[in-house]
Each structure stands twice: as structure tokens, then as C-alpha cells.
């Protein structure tokens, strides 16, 4: 299994955080909320499609809602592989940053 890229983990975690309510608008807002990074809808949907292709995420079509002019939303949920991928990523991050998290990183100097 390949490692997740940064943006992939951002999206997957956003989806995880949103739980049942992970659809386009919310995902975009959650990512912006947590990481200050704004995705355009174009890149957002492209990336989401990539995740679906890699089977980390599943798409389901929800019911039509009145606020959206009668259109349904597409909900995204983590798949089992997606969860596994996230876990691996977390382990990897832990291993990389192990023991370094206490050290202060000052400007220009790493102690």
C-alpha cells in the first residue's frame, strides 16, 4: 500500500471528522477550518474522485434536499482501506516525528 500524500490525508481526515455529513461544501469548509488551505471545487472533486478510484473513499448519493433546489448531494465515506491507510499514515508520522515534538524549532535553529 502506498503512502498517502499530504492533501490526501487532509481530505480523508476531513471526511472522517465530518462523519455522516461529508459532502462537497462541508468537506471544503472543514479543510479550510483545520488547515487554512482552500480548495477550489475543481480540485476538490478531482481529488475526491482520485480517492474513490483508490478505494479509500466510497460515494453514495443522498436524498434530494429542498435547499439545493431539489438536487441530491453526494456523500463521501471512508472505506475500510481508507481507514487502514489513515492508520498507516499516522504510524508513519509518529515514527518520523518521534521524539522531536518536544524540541522547539526556533527560527533558523533546530536544537
Amino acid at each position: 500500500m502506498k503512502d498517502l500524500t499530504m492533501s490526501e490525508s487532509m481530505l480523508l481526515l476531513a471526511i472522517f471528522r465530518l462523519g455522516e455529513n461529508a459532502y462537497g461544501v462541508k468537506i471544503r469548509q472543514k479543510v479550510a477550518e483545520v488547515t487554512d488551505r482552500t480548495y477550489s471545487y475543481g480540485t476538490l472533486y478531482s481529488s475526491l474522485d482520485q480517492l474513490v478510484k483508490k478505494r479509500y473513499v466510497q460515494k453514495t448519493i443522498g436524498d434530494p434536499t429542498p435547499e439545493r433546489g431539489g438536487r441530491s448531494k453526494i456523500y463521501y465515506r471512508l472505506s475500510a482501506e481508507g481507514v487502514e491507510a489513515l492508520q498507516n499514515a499516522y504510524e508513519l508520522q509518529k515514527a518520523i516525528w518521534n521524539g522531536i515534538s518536544d524540541i522547539a524549532v526556533e527560527k533558523g535553529r533546530v536544537l
Partner: protein
């Protein structure tokens, strides 16, 4: 929360670029966020956000769409091939049909390209013109001719528009080198010839070509013929001009003139060698071809207008008009040249293109029919796709893609077909075409264009129809193709109408041909050897008795029945005059040939009145002539024997009629026979010798004749031919076109039948349950077969009604070209109609036989 469309134009952009699968979700997202921002920051901020977001997102969306489409492509290809294999009968029929259409287009393309390319290889070819003179010969009679000899070089001096001019005199002269003696095409030219025409040099320096009077430039082919592997440079060949052989030194070798050059030659010599002093004489009655190269082709019209004041004033008698003919237009539209033979017509290209398009259209019709019909088997697949979220757009894309894919497969098959038929086509079209698809972009582009076009056009209708099936009904298996039945019917009718039309035209052409050849030419040309004596004539004093000796020597042989000489060839144009008829009070054509006493016998002409030129009886008449029927009829001559020609014409003619022969057609039956007569030649300046052999071992006879010839006329090349072949030449172009139409109709019938075949299969499948039930209820095999037949035979009969008037009209206008023609009677029409019906019935019956014999239980079982 506003429900209305935030920004319709932006939304429209979104809709266009976004992957249709998720389109609704994206638009919904946009709306949702928009309304949030409206609440928080107001409409204006929201609007600008919307636009900005759309702007940033457009590129990724498009990119994504493409990726998704490509993803589907793999699936489409897989499904397409799976489908092809599943219904391989339909697929094969479709491919064959389209391949035939494409093959026709390929051959036509190369033909037309070749035709259009004639004479264009010269540098600035569009500025090259030939000058011809139109002379008035009598009231309403005009003749075109070449120009006077000294005119050429004067033209650049007089007219600033003319950059250079060159004269050409083309002749067939004897060329000798060592033991090789043949007649070749020799062109006498000015040095400026190479400035106007681009015939690239193989060896030699352009400046030195023909610098001396005795130089000759030969083509590669001639170099091989006369010099073999030797280097010809500087060596000598002898060319016979005016019955004397002159030596020429080879000063250059050019590449053979290409096949798309109207100007063909073997040797180029200085024109001064042909004419001598005469070249600078005005009004000496001789003419040749004069070409000019203008500064620009737009000057041609103006220049031609200047001619009457300049040329006519100084150099020519008034009443003769000078005309300019463009070289590049000559091949397709030219009618006269002093040096070229008009070979082709624009019409040929149009006709071929028409036929190709026709065949392709029929193939496309078939394709549509079969595809729509066979789609019923895919109903479940289509239903599933729709359920899984496929939009109509995507389905249309899928089926269109399949059609285009099939079209490209047909392209491959079509290329193979074209290669197979190329040799036959080349013979028919009298060309040497090569199918080089990659020589220039045009060919490949046109090919791919045609394929794409065919695929898209042929696939459009099925794609739209199939994608329109509603899902639920598909699962129920209720595919209602019947609404489109009208279209199907129209397709069948038109296909058969086209086929029947072509068959009728072919049929009549055959009839006309056999009428023409069976009509009896009025001669017996078989086993008549024709020997050309033209070269022997040049020095008449020297050859006078010689020709008689030759004739007598040849006549001695057992295998020779009779020998005769004539001044003019049978199929060439005789001495043509236009005297004023006393009866009709206007000028009429009159032809005359000078022959010896054995002419009538040797050629097997039929005397219907009077007698021939036998030596004894013609002693008492000074100027005996034998006339043809047409002369008698045209001028209402009663009891012609003994009357004098001058009785009927204003001009005084020598000639007392001693006999009348049945009309003989020396030219093709396109023309009426011209009133003509033959008179006894006082000299022996025969150009042709006719030898009637007795049919046994013609080759031996030819060898005997050759032996005598070589003994008596050693300096003259022995050239012979057969009279019946010479006559056949007249009809060659007709035969050629008959063959082409014949092939076209075979194609058309084949395609129409394959279409019918496919449809029958479909009908049988569609109505399999019905057929089974009928069988169970006691229908016989015949009943079932006639059931299926009934659906289609009516259509074929209908096709007849449409085809007949069109065919009648076309055949009528074709027959107009013939002076002697058959009457288009009803027999061919009826035969064609019956044939079409028979073919249709056979095809249908064969197909439905299988269904008729099948076990009804089988199809009733699967529900």
C-alpha cells in the same frame, strides 16, 4: 435562502465543463455555499465568489472530465468488441458494406487526384497557354488548327505579357541506331521549350541542350531501348526526316515524361531540322503548335483581345481568330490542340464520384438499419447503464464511438479491397495509379476524414434512437423499434431503387453495344493485316514501282487472299471536303479516299449496285468512283450508275459513279456515316496496305509479308496491325464505361442484398415467438417463408416504380450520344424488376428457412 439561480451564465459554464455524473452535486454545492455567503456577506460578495470559484474550477473540471471519459473509453472498447463478436453476422455485413463504400471512395479519390494533376508539374503551369487558330471553312463550318510557323518567336517581342514562347511539332519518325529501327515520337522544339516546360534532366547541362542544330535530347526509356546499358552521351542516332536519315548527337537525357503529362515524347530535336527554310515563311499552309508562358494567368483574357489588331493585321488573313487555351485545363476540358490528343473529360470524374457516394450512402443506410435492429439484443445492457447513472449523452457517445470504431475497421478492410481491385480499375480507367496513402497529407487526411464522416453519419441515427429507450421497458424486453419502421422501409426502397436503376442502365448499355457490333460494320475486317506505308511515301519517285512490286509479291502467297492499298486509313479522317450541294443549297460534308482496284474485295465491302474497279471494265471510264449508300440517299440520287458527281455539287468534281456499296462505319457508331466515295488512285502513294489472309496461321503470313517488306523497303520500319482491332479501338471508351457501370451495379446489388439479409435476420429474430406459435398452430414451412417475404417484397416492387422513370430518362440521354441507337423498350425494365424481386425473395427465403425449420418449442420456452 434564495432559491433562484444565482448566476445563470456561470452555472451554464459549470454545466458544460463538469463531469455529468456528479454535475448535480457540484451545482448543489455551489448553490449552498452561495446562499451561505449571501446571508453572511451579501449578494454582491456572494456573486463575485461564485464567479471566482467557477473560474478557478473550470480547468480542473475539464481535465477531470477528460480523464473520466478516457476511463469509459476502455469500457466502451471492450464492450464494442464483445458486441462485434456476439453479433458477428451483422458486424461482418456492416464492415463489408462500409468497406466497399470506402474502397470505391479510395479509388475515386486517386483517380480524380490524378486527373486534376495533369500538366501541373511544370513550373508556373497555370501561366502556360497554347495558341490555336480558328478558321472559317464555309458557312457555319469551322476548323481549329495550329499556328503559322514563324509566329512563335515573334510573340514575346510584340506582347510584354508573354515571357517566352516555344513551338512544338510532334511527329512519328523512324529512328535508327545500328540494328534497331523503330518509329518513335519525335518532337521538334525551340530551345525555349525548356523555359516553359519542366522536364528535368537526368544527364546534361541545360544550357547545352540542343545548342547545336544536330543535338537530340532523349528520354530515359529511349536511352535504354537504343543504347541498353551504354552511356548515350555524345553518341549518335539517326532520325528519318523527309525520307532521309540525319545523324543526331545525344546532348542530354531527360526523365521520362510522367504519366500525368499530356505531352509525351521520346526524342527532342531542334525544330529547324524538321522545317528548314519553311520555318520563317508565312502563309505556306503549314502549321504547328505554339505555346506561351505568360507573366501571369490573369493576363490571358486581355491578351486574347489584343490579337485581332496585332497578329491578324500583320500576319494573317482576316477571318481567322486566335485563341488561347490554358494548359492545365486541357486534360479535362480541352477539345483541340495541335499537339495533344484530348483524352479525358470532366464528366468522368463527376460520374465516378457520384457512383462512389452512391455506394457509400447505400452502405450507410444498411448500417443504420442493421445497427438499430440489432440493438434489441442489447436492451438489457442499456437498461443497466441507465440504472447505474449513465446519462443519455454518455450513451450517445458510446454508440457513436462504436460506429466510428467499426468505421475504422472498415477502413482497414476497405484499403485491402481497394488494393485487390486496383489492377482492374487501372485497366478500366487507363491509368497507372498507385495507392500511396502517405505521399502527401491530403490523401491520408481525406481517407481518415471519410472514415470519420461515415462513422459519425452512419452512427448518428442509431445512437440517438438506441439511447432513447426508456429503462423499464428495456428490462421488460419490449423494444419498440416499430415506430422507426417507416424509416427502415424508406431505406430498403431507396437501396433497391438505386440497384435496379443501375441494372437497367447496364442492361441497355449491353444492348446498345451488341446492336452496335452486330449491326454489321459493312466490312469484313477479320484477318485483315494493315501495314503502314507512310514512311515509304516520302520519296514517291523512288518508291512508285516499288509499292506495286511489293503488292504483287505479297499477293502471290497462298495464304494471302487479296492485297490492296489506300491513301487514307479506314478509321482515320479521310480527305474531307465541304462542297455546296445543289439539292440542299448548302455545304455538306463529303469524304473521299483514293484506293486501288482491289480495295472493295480486300475489305469485304458489299456492292449493292453496279460493279467494282476490276481492271478490264474500268478502261472505258476515265474517273470511276464507287459511292456509299449515304451519298445516294442524302442527295436523292436516282439510278446512280453512270451519273457524274458534278451533277450534284456546285464545285466541279471528277467522278463517274460505277457502283454503290453498303454503308460501312469507319468511325464509331456515335457518328452518322458521312457521304463518301472511293476513287481509283492514279499514283501509288498508298499510305496503307491491306492484306486479307485466309485465317490459317496468321503469324506465318505476317512473317512472309515482313520478309518481302524488308527486301523491298529496307529503310522503312515494318509496322503492322489488324483491322478488326483498329475498328474496336473506336469503341474502347464505350466498353470501358460499360464495364464501370456494370461493376457499380454489382456492388449496389451486393450491398442492397446484404442489407436485406441483415434485416431478414432481424425480422426473424423479432418475430420468432410469432413464428413459433404459427408453427404450433399448423403453419407449413412455405407459410412462414411467405410471411417474411411479404414484408419486403412489396418494398422491392415499390423500388421498381421509383427506379424506372429515372432509368428511362438517363438511358435516353446516354443514347443521344449515338447516331445509331436502339429503342429503349420495356423488356429491360421488366427483366430488371423481376430480377430484383427474385434476388430479394431468394435472400429472404434462405434466411427465413432456418427459422421456419426450427423447433418452435425452443423459442417459446425462453420467456
Amino acid at each position: 435562502m434564495s432559491k433562484k439561480n444565482p448566476c445563470p451564465p456561470a452555472e451554464w459554464i459549470l454545466k458544460r465543463t463538469v463531469n455529468p455524473e456528479v454535475e448535480f452535486s457540484i451545482i448543489g454545492d455551489f448553490e449552498e455555499e452561495y446562499t451561505e455567503i449571501v446571508c453572511k456577506k451579501g449578494v454582491i460578495r456572494a456573486g463575485s465568489w461564485y464567479w471566482r470559484m467557477v473560474f478557478i474550477s473550470v480547468l480542473p473540471f475539464i481535465f477531470n472530465s477528460i480523464i473520466w471519459s478516457l476511463a469509459m473509453l476502455k469500457n466502451y472498447i471492450k464492450i464494442a468488441f464483445r458486441n462485434f463478436r456476439k453479433n458477428y453476422t451483422y458486424t461482418t455485413i456492416n464492415i463489408l458494406g462500409l468497406a466497399t463504400g470506402i474502397a470505391c471512395c479510395i479509388l475515386t479519390f486517386f483517380f480524380v487526384r490524378d486527373e486534376l494533376s495533369f500538366n501541373r508539374f511544370h513550373d508556373k503551369a497555370e501561366n502556360i497557354y497554347e495558341l490555336t487558330v480558328v478558321l472559317k471553312v464555309g458557312d457555319g463550318f469551322y476548323m481549329q488548327n495550329g499556328t503559322q510557323l514563324p509566329l512563335g518567336p515573334k510573340l514575346p517581342e510584340i506582347f510584354p505579357e508573354v515571357v517566352s514562347s516555344a513551338r512544338i511539332k510532334m511527329q512519328n519518325l523512324s529512328v535508327k541506331r545500328m540494328d534497331k529501327l523503330f518509329e518513335e515520337k519525335v518532337a521538334g522544339i525551340d530551345r525555349t521549350f525548356f523555359d516553359i516546360f519542366s522536364f528535368p534532366l537526368k544527364y546534361g547541362i541545360k544550357k547545352n541542350m540542343l545548342s547545336g542544330p544536330d543535338g537530340v535530347v532523349i528520354t530515359g526509356k529511349m536511352a535504354k531501348k537504343y543504347f541498353g546499358e551504354e552511356d548515350p552521351a555524345g553518341k549518335t542516332v539517326s532520325i528519318n526526316i523527309g525520307n532521309k536519315f540525319y545523324d543526331f548527337k545525344v546532348t542530354g537525357i531527360v526523365f521520362d515524361p510522367p504519366s500525368n503529362s499530356s505531352l509525351q515524347f521520346g526524342f527532342l530535336i531542334n525544330i529547324e531540322k524538321i522545317y528548314g527554310k519553311e520555318l520563317s515563311e508565312w502563309n505556306n499552309g503549314k502549321s504547328l503548335a505554339t505555346f506561351v508562358k505568360l507573366k501571369d494567368k490573369s493576363m490571358a483574357g486581355e491578351l486574347q483581345k489584343k490579337f485581332p489588331e496585332t497578329i491578324n493585321k500583320y500576319f494573317d488573313p482576316p477571318g481567322s481568330q486566335y485563341r488561347m487555351h490554358s494548359l492545365v485545363d486541357f486534360h479535362l476540358t480541352g477539345t483541340f490542340s495541335a499537339v495533344f490528343l484530348p483524352e479525358s473529360k470532366m464528366e468522368y470524374s463527376y460520374i465516378l464520384s457520384g457512383i462512389s457516394l452512391l455506394v457509400l450512402m447505400i452502405a450507410c443506410f444498411n448500417f443504420m438499419n442493421l445497427t438499430i435492429g440489432s440493438s434489441s439484443t442489447r436492451s438489457k445492457e442499456i437498461g443497466m447503464r441507465k440504472v447505474m447513472g449513465a446519462q443519455r449523452k454518455e450513451l450517445i457517445r458510446q454508440f457513436w464511438f462504436e460506429s466510428v470504431l467499426l468505421s475504422f475497421l472498415s477502413l482497414a478492410a476497405g484499403i485491402i479491397l481497394a488494393e485487390i481491385f486496383l489492377p482492374v480499375f487501372n485497366i478500366l480507367a487507363q491509368k497507372t495509379l498507385h495507392l500511396d496513402y502517405f505521399s502527401n497529407i491530403t490523401a491520408a487526411a481525406v481517407l481518415i476524414g471519410i472514415t470519420l464522416f461515415t462513422g459519425i453519419v452512419a452512427g448518428s441515427y442509431p445512437a440517438f434512437v438506441i439511447s432513447g429507450f426508456a429503462s423499464v421497458e428495456l428490462f421488460k424486453g419490449k423494444v419498440k423499434v416499430s415506430g422507426k419502421k417507416v424509416f427502415t422501409k424508406i431505406l430498403i426502397v431507396s437501396q433497391f431503387a438505386i440497384s435496379i436503376f443501375l441494372i437497367i442502365v447496364t442492361g441497355f448499355m449491353y444492348k446498345q453495344q451488341s446492336f452496335v457490333s452486330g449491326r454489321g460494320i459493312g466490312l469484313e475486317p477479320d484477318n485483315v493485316i494493315v501495314v503502314s506505308l507512310e514512311k515509304a511515301l516520302i520519296n514517291p519517285e523512288k518508291n512508285e514501282n516499288v509499292l506495286n512490286i511489293l503488292k504483287n509479291r505479297i499477293a502471290q502467297y497462298k495464304s494471302v487472299e487479296s492485297v490492296s492499298g489506300s491513301v487514307y486509313g479506314l478509321t482515320s479522317y479521310w480527305s474531307s471536303m465541304a462542297p455546296v450541294s445543289k439539292l440542299h443549297k448548302k455545304r455538306m460534308f463529303l469524304e473521299r479516299n483514293l484506293v486501288d482496284k482491289d480495295y472493295i474485295n480486300t475489305l469485304g465491302m458489299k456492292l449493292i449496285e453496279g460493279r467494282g474497279f476490276s481492271a478490264a471494265a474500268s478502261n472505258n471510264i476515265a474517273d470511276p468512283i464507287i459511292v456509299n449508300e449515304t451519298l445516294i440517299k442524302r442527295h436523292n440520287i436516282e439510278s446512280p450508275i453512270g451519273r457524274k458527281l458534278s451533277e450534284f455539287f456546285e464545285e466541279s468534281f471528277d467522278g463517274t459513279i460505277i457502283g454503290v456499296v453498303k454503308d460501312y462505319h469507319n468511325k464509331s457508331l456515335h457518328r452518322r456515316v458521312i457521304a463518301g466515295y472511293v476513287s481509283l488512285n492514279k499514283d501509288t502513294n498508298y499510305r496503307n496496305l491491306y492484306i486479307k489472309a485466309n485465317g490459317e496461321d496468321i503469324q506465318k503470313t505476317i512473317n512472309l509479308v515482313r520478309k518481302e517488306f524488308k527486301q523491298i523497303l529496307p529503310d522503312v520500319p515494318f509496322m503492322y496491325g489488324f483491322l478488326d482491332e483498329e475498328i474496336k479501338q473506336q469503341y474502347l471508351s464505350d466498353e470501358k464505361w460499360n464495364k464501370i457501370v456494370e461493376y457499380a451495379s454489382i456492388f449496389a446489388i451486393f450491398i442492397a442484398c446484404s442489407g436485406l439479409l441483415g434485416l431478414t435476420l432481424l425480422t426473424v429474430v423479432r418475430r420468432s415467438k410469432e413464428i413459433s406459435i404459427r408453427k404450433v398452430l399448423g403453419a407449413t414451412v412455405t407459410d412462414i417463408i411467405s410471411l417474411v417475404n411479404r414484408e419486403f417484397v412489396i418494398l422491392v416492387a415499390l423500388a421498381n416504380i421509383i427506379a424506372w422513370p429515372a432509368a428511362y430518362f438517363t438511358v435516353g440521354s446516354i443514347l443521344q450520344n449515338y447516331a445509331y441507337r436502339i429503342d429503349p423498350g420495356p423488356d429491360v425494365f421488366i427483366l430488371a424488376g423481376i430480377a430484383a424481386v427474385l434476388v430479394a425473395v431468394t435472400t429472404i427465403s434462405l434466411q427465413s428457412l432456418k427459422a421456419a425449420l426450427a423447433n418452435p418449442v425452443k423459442s417459446l420456452k425462453c420467456e
